[in-house]
Amino acid sequence: MVEMAGTKAFVKSLELEGVKYVFGLPGGVVIPLCDEILNGDFRFILARHEQGAAHMADGYARATGGVGVCLATSGPGATNVVTGIATAHSDSSAVVAFTGQVTRATIGTDAFQEVDIIGCSASVTKYNMQVRKASEIPKAVKTAFQIASTGRRGAVLVDLPKDVTTDVEDVSFPETVKLRGYHPNYQPDPREVEWAANLLAKAQRPVVVAGGGIINSGASRELVALCEYLMAPTATTLMGKGAFPADHPLSLGLCGMHGTQAANNLVPEADVLLIAGARLSDRTTGSVKSFAPNAKVIHLDIDRSEIDKNVETVTRVVGDASLGLRGLLYNVSKLRASGDAGSQWSKRVSEFRLQMNGTGNGHKEGYLRAPDVVKTLRNALPREAIVTTEVGQCQMWAALHYDAYDPRTFFTSGGLGTMGWGFPAAIGVKAARPDVPVVDIAGDGSFGMTENSMATSIEEDLPVVVVVLNNHMLGMVAQWQRLFFDHRYSAVKLKGNPDMVKLAEAYGAEGVRVDTLEGFQAAVRRAIKSDVSTVIDVPIDPEENVYPIVPPGAGLKDALLEA
C-alpha cells in the first residue's frame, strides 16, 4: 500500500499495462488527470475530436494486436467517444476508453457537462464501470485491460469522477483480477474438434469462410495449412481480409454483398462449409436461406453466442481459432490423405478464380476507374504496407481490388461501417507501425467527417497517405438510389466540398491532384517517402458503381454484375 492521488494511481496503472500512447482530448473534469499525464511514461496524442481519438486508439489496437487507449472529458467528450468505441467493439478491437465524470456528490444533479455515459455506452461495450474510490483505480484499469484484450476482444469504458481522481488514498496495484463470471474459453473441446474433422474429411466440395477472428487469434498459418491439406477454396469476410493471402491459389477473395464472383458462387455450392472466426452478418451471408443451402456448416468461434445466431450449424468448435484449426488439421490428417477430394470441384474452383473481380462498371470517359486506382495503389506500395479504409464505395473498391497478403495489413470499419474511421485509424496505425507506409483509401464524404485529424498527424509527426476517390457524392447511397430508387438522387451531392489539395496545404500537409494512373503511381511513391501526410485527390466518375453487388435480401448467387 502506498498513499497517492487517484491521478498518480491512474498513470502508474497505465504504465504497468505497458501503454505507449494515449489518444485524447482534455476538458474540465480531466484537467487533474492531464496534469499527471505529463509525468507519465507514454505519449499523449492530442486529437481534435474525441471520435477521432477513439478511432486512433482503435487503429493502434488493430495494428499491434494489443490494447488502444483513449481519454475524453465528461459530457460531450464522453458522448463523442461513443461512436468510436461502438466501432471498435463491433469489430472486436480491444479499446479501453477513459471518460471523466463530474464529482460523486454532483452525479445525478444534471451538473454542467454531466452525462450518464455508463448508460449511454452499455450497449456498445464489452464491459463498463464507474470507479467510486481512488484506491479502486488500479483494479479498475487492470480489469478493463484484461476484459478488453482476452477472449473475444472488445471495447471497455471506465468512467472516472473528478474527485475520485483527486482523492489521496492508500493504493495497491494488483497483478491480476479474478472475475467470477468471466472465463474466456480458448481450448476447444476435443470431441467437437473430432466431430468437425470427420465432416471435413468426408467433404467433396469443402469451402472455408475466414473472418476477423483468424487475425485476432494469429491463426493465418494454421488456416492456410488446413485449407491446403483439404484443397479447400477459401473466402474471407470483410473483417477477414488479410487472414488468407490474396495471391494464394485457393483464395476466393471477399464473400458477401460486394463479394467476388468466385466466392459468392462457390460458398453456396459447398457440401461442407467451415466458418472460422466470423460472425456471419447479413452483409456476408446475403439471404440466409440461400447462403449454404446444401452444406453441413461447421462454425469455429471463440464466442459461443455467435454459433447458431444467424446461420444454423451442424457442429461447432468453440475456442481460439488457432488452436481449433490446429486440432482440425491434426484430426483430418488421421482420417484422409492430403489433396483433392474430387477433381470436378477443383476444376470448378479454378474456373471461377479466373473471373474474380467482376467486370465493367460503365464509367464515363475522362475519369480514372476506381478499381484501376486501387490496383495501381497496390502495385505502388510495398507488400508490408498497411491500408485502412473509409466507408462506402471506396471501402468496397478497396475490399474487392486491393490484395492483402498478410494479417494486420488491411483495416476497415466492417461491423458498424463508420464513415470517417479510416483517417484517424490510419494515424493510430502509424503510431504503432512507424516503419511501414500507412494509406487510407477514402471517399470525399467520409474524409470530410474526420478530416480535422490532419492537425494531429502534422503536429505529432505521424504521416499517412489519404487517397481520396473523389466523386463529390455520398457514393454508396447514390449507387443505391441509381439501382434501387429509380435514379432519384436525394441528399447525396456534395457540391460544397472543399478543394482537397488546398485543404491539405492549409494544414501544412501535402496535396496533389492526379488524373492519370502513371501520375497516381508517382504521387503514391512520393507520398510514402514524405515526412508529412499527403492527400492524393483522384477525381472519379460520380456515376461509377461498385460491382458485383448482391441486392439487399437476395442470395449471394444473384449478384448484379454490371449496369
Binding site: 450497449s123 463470471g181 468471466y182 447458431d308
Partner: protein
C-alpha cells in the same frame, strides 16, 4: 414454437447489473415476461429468475448472451420437469357485500392463501403458486370484484441435487 421458458442465473451484486441485463434483453429483442431478483446467501451475489417467451433457438440465444456477460456468474435454463416454480400475488378484493366477503374468504382458503388485511370495504389476499394457479385464482375472484393486483413474477429452484452453482 414460441413458449415460456424459465432462465435462472447468478450475478455480481454491483450497481447497474440489472440495467445491463434488461438492456441486453431489449437490445436483442428478447421478450421478458417476468423478472425477479434478490440476494442469496452472501451479499455479493444476486439470483435472478427470468421468464422469457421464445422458441428453442431463441432461448438458447438468451442463455448464451447472458453467459457472455461479465457480471453473470452462472446461467441455466431450468427444465420445467425438474424445477419448482412459484409466484406470489397480492390481491385486493371488494367486499362491501357480506356475501362477497364470505365467497372471497372461501376462495382464498381453497387456494391455500392468506388474508393479510381486512377493511370495512375490502381485504387483501396473498396467494402463492405456479403462475397458472394464480391465473385461476384471479379468474375465480374476478366476479367478486378485484380492485388491485400485484404479482412478483416467477422464482424457481431445481429439484434434487441439481443446482445453479457448479
Amino acid at each position: 414454437m414460441s413458449e415460456m421458458h424459465v432462465v435462472a442465473f447468478l450475478v455480481e451484486n454491483r450497481p447497474g447489473v440489472l440495467f445491463n441485463i434488461s438492456n441486453m434483453f431489449r437490445r436483442k429483442n428478447f421478450n421478458i415476461h417476468s423478472i425477479t431478483a434478490g440476494t442469496v446467501l452472501d451479499d455479493d451475489t444476486v439470483r435472478i429468475t427470468i421468464v422469457v417467451q421464445a422458441d428453442a433457438r431463441g432461448v438458447n440465444q438468451v442463455v448464451e448472451q447472458l453467459d457472455k456477460m461479465v457480471d453473470v456468474i452462472e446461467v441455466k435454463r431450468l427444465d420445467p420437469l425438474r424445477a419448482v416454480n412459484r409466484e406470489l400475488a397480492l390481491v385486493k378484493l371488494t367486499t362491501t357485500d357480506p356475501m362477497a366477503r364470505e365467497e372471497a374468504l372461501k376462495l382464498v382458503n381453497d387456494y391455500h392463501g392468506l388474508i393479510l388485511n381486512i377493511e370495512p370495504d375490502n381485504l387483501i389476499a396473498e396467494v402463492t403458486g405456479e403462475s397458472a394457479d394464480i391465473d385461476a385464482f384471479l379468474a375465480a375472484v374476478t366476479p367478486i370484484g378485484v380492485e388491485e393486483v400485484s404479482r412478483t413474477g416467477v422464482t424457481a429452484i431445481e429439484k434434487g441435487r441439481l443446482k445453479l452453482e457448479k
